[in-house]
């Protein structure tokens, strides 16, 4: 399926760590970096079931579970794809046809350096109001590049 950039959000980062570690931290240690404010239930633990057809499970302190994602590809240490079974009202979306997906690819640039590219795609599948989901997960910088440079300490004007 083609990737229409207007219905996808892309983000990438260079990590000073071996590819195996990068993949492991992204999947097995998701709760160490996932924003604690971004869960549908109070979450004590995040579990990625390491197989296609498994789930990403948020588990509450009382043992309650929220299975908000399906693992669509699990190919350590290079590829992890999972679904985004959340609707535009930030509730669980039971219909897989109305969910988007997040593809994460890991590329070893050096033994201790890994390029991580994340694409959150097919956001239009969320239906009416999907642009709000795109804006929430994506960046608002597109029209504000000069401002971004200014904040980050680079000269705002060339020359």
């Amino acid at each position: 399926m083609s990737t229409d950039t207007s219905t996808a959000v892309r983000s990438e980062i260079m990590v000073e760590a071996p590819i195996e570690r990068a993949f492991a931290v992204f999947t097995e240690e998701m709760q160490t970096w996932w924003n604690p404010d971004h869960h549908l239930i109070e979450t004590a633990e995040m579990i990625v079931e390491p197989r296609v057809g498994g789930n990403i499970v948020d588990r509450g302190p009382d043992g309650s579970e929220c299975r908000w994602s399906r693992v669509l590809a699990y190919e350590p240490p290079t590829l992890f794809v999972f679904s985004w079974d959340i609707n535009t009202r930030w509730e669980l979306e039971p219909d897989p046809d109305k969910t988007s997906e997040v593809a994460v690819t890991f590329t070893a640039e050096a033994p201790d350096r890994t390029q991580v590219v994340l694409e959150h795609r097919h956001l239009d599948r969320h239906g009416e109001g999907w642009e709000g989901m795109r804006d929430a997960v994506g960046s608002g910088w597109s029209d504000l590049a000069g401002l971004k440079d200014a904040i980050e300490g680079r000269p705002p004007f060339p020359g």
């Binding site: 000073e16 504000l144 000069g146 971004k148 200014a150 705002p156």
Partner: protein, 106 residues
């Protein structure tokens, strides 16, 4: 949080005010310096600075007889977090976790 971000975005919605902000971001500047660099009057610059200050983007400080304006790091960080969006913020946190020594982890 949402309200203050709204105020911040409104403050930066005006192109001249954004130019004032970018000049202050490059280095601290006094009102007179800004007026000299921009095609607007000194009172207009002061008005733009007042809006930027109320939005939490700049702070001012008296240096001798002059009032010097500079970036307000907390306000700028909030704006940056907002504009970066969920995945950019998450990947930065992921990078920090992946680069941390194993022994520092839980």
């Amino acid at each position: 949080m949402t309200d203050s971000i709204g105020q911040t975005l409104i403050a930066l919605g005006d192109p001249t005010r954004r130019e004032v902000f970018e000049l202050v971001a490059a280095r601290p500047r006094a009102v007179g310096e800004l007026a000299a660099e921009l095609p607007v009057s000194r009172p207009a610059v002061s008005q733009h600075l007042r809006v930027l200050k109320e939005a939490g983007l700049v702070t001012d400080e008296a240096v001798g007889a002059r009032r010097v304006y500079q970036l307000h790091p907390e306000g700028v960080a909030e704006l940056r977090d907002y504009l970066d969006g969920f995945w950019n913020r998450s990947l930065r946190a992921f990078k920090a976790a992946a680069e941390a020594d194993d022994k520092e982890e839980r």
